[in-house]
């Protein structure tokens, strides 16, 4: 899966948490700007594990603040595992 596809998946997932359309989420903007909180971060970990098969800490959303940054982290992890 390319970084671009992963990033789009993150955007779609975040949009579904916030009940907004995906076009409202900019993959280059920090998620915190959209009001992502610690509970969303926990949900995101579960969804990432479901989709990609590995566990990530909920701090991911702050360590890699934008959808693109998360996507490149996930792509790297997928390659190495």
């Amino acid at each position: 899966m390319t970084e671009e596809i992963i990033s789009q998946w993150i955007v779609d997932t975040i949009a579904s948490y916030l009940d907004v359309s995906s076009s409202e989420i900019d993959p280059l903007q920090p998620l915190a700007n959209y009001g992502i909180d610690s509970v969303h971060a926990l949900s995101l970990c579960g969804d990432i594990e479901e989709k990609f098969g590995f566990y990530v800490d909920p701090t991911l959303a702050w360590d890699y603040p934008t959808p693109n940054a998360i996507a490149s982290f996930i792509a790297g992890r997928s390659l190495s595992s």
Partner: protein, 582 residues
């Protein structure tokens, strides 16, 4: 160490705490009520705990302590909570919370220092709370920034237990703008002196001393940092899984005493020519509380065992225990208060310990991750929570439910913030039901109900939109969370009962092995006993209540505890007194 050894250790501890009925004894209910009336720390009782070295139970084995297995920590400390929950909180629990962060992420030097202090009877305070932010500790404002000599601090913490005397304090402080980026620091009072503010006055736990601390102008060396810079919330969310599972297990002890006080009253008091305990409502209530207490022990101990066995699901199991057990026990205390009548309100006389427990108990619940916070943790992770293998691993199940199987020392490094993988405890609901032999009509009906709920839960979670699981989650998501926690508790009870059936050697496990206890406990978990007067409940009354009531009476007359250990609270022998091990 077998379960029999754990019972002996608890009895040895009780022997050293002395007779709870003897007013001259520092750890008696009467004396502890006197301390409470005076609004003073129970100094003499604390001195006894110090002399015995109870705090060794909080310290890992490799640092000269006794802590190996987390389920045993709950069993042992329960003895202190049976005397007085405020003694347990004041002497120990907040120290355990603080220490948990150090065992999880501290340096060898910090661990040695903490171990030494606890073993010598000292306290470690845990300073997270700020009045403005409560449970939302990600918003905490006490700030630390790099300075010439390490870190400089600004801001205030509030309601910190033991802040006036603790030699070490674990401080939670913001080190970055990011909401998740706080850090933890170990403040050593012998090196950095500063005063604590005035005491807060409280309704319960009046023997605890809560005060504010000002960190304005405090500086700490780099070596004070616990774990990674900016990693404080991660450390806390991992370490507190242990305390979330163990604290409710300890709190079972407070309800043990509430039940004992009430049962003694009900058996002794005669009205209309019969004893109060003979009235059906009273008898059923006493039995119901007894059954819940055993179930609470089993659920919290199972979660503690699972932290060893399935640490990747620890965030779920510990939150489920902290979510469900205190709520059930608090309701139980209210039920007992109804039975005690006027006596539940009296601050002297032989039932006075009851009103103290009633005031103290809520503090155990508020103090550390509110019920709603635990619910949010579970709700966000529901899809992971209901993941399970169709065919559970038998060896794994044995390790979880056979408490005679030793788990070795707990590895703090294995805890993770969120949950991953699959849930053995959730899957075990199905296998536990399948493995039960000779299931009669009533038990079969209860099992069907549990299986239906588990099917409902899984299909509901699959259809639920992610938004529903968020902070402003839907009522349906909340209901699903409640069902999940209750199904985990049911799974623990059924499987533990199955193990006791195959082994059944003593009174504690005979009760748990019985259909009578299991039915009453499961009806409690399903919320039937209180809210639904169905045929099922009618039948239970006739068939099961008498059997469990006999056990309650027998424990009362033998001074045995009501939990799964059924240990003797007034051991006449003292031969094990120097051999407390857990």
């Amino acid at each position: 160490m077998s379960i029999m050894d754990v019972r002996l250790a608890v009895e040895a501890l009780d022997a050293q705490l002395g007779d709870p009925y003897s007013s001259a004894n520092a750890c008696s209910w009467e004396q502890l009520c006197r301390n409470d009336e005076a609004g003073e720390r129970p100094h003499e009782a604390e001195a006894v705990l110090k002399e015995i070295g109870v705090a060794k139970a909080f310290v890992p084995h490799e640092f000269n302590g006794l802590l190996l297995q987390l389920d045993r920590l709950g069993h042992l400390l329960r003895a202190v909570f049976r005397r007085d929950p405020a003694l347990g909180l004041g002497f120990g629990v907040t120290s355990l919370m603080a220490a948990a962060t150090i065992w999880t992420a501290g340096t060898a030097e910090q661990k040695e220092r903490a171990a030494e202090l606890l073993i010598s009877g000292g306290q470690i305070a845990v300073a997270f709370h700020e009045l403005a932010h409560g449970n939302d500790f990600g918003a905490n404002e006490v700030t630390a920034w790099p300075s010439e000599s390490g870190f400089a601090f600004a801001g205030n913490k509030s309601l910190i237990n033991n802040a006036d005397r603790a030699e070490l304090i674990v401080v939670h402080a913001r080190t970055s703008k990011n909401p998740v980026n706080h850090s933890l620091f170990l403040l050593d009072r012998t090196k950095t002196a500063f005063p604590a503010g005035d005491y807060w006055r409280t309704v319960g736990v009046r023997g605890c001393r809560l005060s504010n601390i000002s960190l304005e102008g405090v500086t700490l060396p780099d070596s004070a940092l616990i774990g990674a810079l900016d990693g404080g919330n991660s450390v806390a969310l991992r370490a507190f899984q242990v305390t979330r599972a163990c604290l409710p297990s300890m709190a079972v002890g407070a309800v043990d005493t509430a039940l004992r006080t009430t049962a003694e009253f009900a058996v002794g008091r005669r009205l209309y020519g019969l004893s109060v305990a003979e009235m059906p409502y009273v008898r059923q209530s006493l039995v119901g509380v007894f059954a819940d207490l055993v179930a609470a022990d089993i659920f919290s101990s199972t979660a503690a065992r699972l932290l060893h066995i399935e640490p990747n699901q620890g965030s779920l199991y510990s939150a489920a225990v902290k979510f469900l057990v205190p709520e059930v026990l608090r309701e139980d205390i209210n039920i007992l208060a109804d039975i005690l009548g006027a006596r539940f309100y009296l601050r002297n006389g032989k039932h006075a310990i009851f009103q103290k427990i009633m005031r103290d108990f809520p503090a155990l619940v508020i103090g550390h991750a509110a019920q709603d916070v635990c619910e949010a943790t579970l709700r966000a992770q529901l899809p992971v929570a209901v993941r399970m293998d169709d065919k559970p691993n038998e060896a794994l199940q044995r390790a979880i439910f056979d408490w005679n199987i030793p788990l070795g020392k707990f590895d703090w490094a294995t805890l993770q913030m969120g949950a991953s993988g699959k849930s053995a405890l959730f899957a075990a609901l199905h296998s536990g039901i399948e493995n039960r032999t000779s299931v009669d009509k009533e038990l079969g009906a209860i099992f069907d109900e549990l299986l239906d709920l588990s099917i409902w839960l899984r299909s509901t979670v699959v259809q639920m939109s992610p938004r529903e699981r968020g902070l402003n989650g839907s009522a349906l998501a909340s209901a699903a969370t409640k069902v999940y926690a209750r199904l985990l508790a049911a799974s623990a009870c059924i499987n533990r009962s199955n193990v006791c059936r195959s082994a059944g050697q003593d009174s504690g496990s005979n009760l748990i092995a019985s259909d009578a206890w299991l039915k009453i406990a499961l009806c409690g978990i399903l919320g039937y006993r209180r809210f639904l007067h169905t045929d099922l409940v009618e039948q239970l009354n006739a068939v099961c209540y008498e059997e469990v009531y006999e056990e309650l009476l027998s424990r009362l007359s033998l001074n045995s505890t009501f939990d799964s250990l059924a240990s003797n609270m007034l051991p006449i022998y003292n031969v094990f007194s120097n051999k407390i091990k857990i």
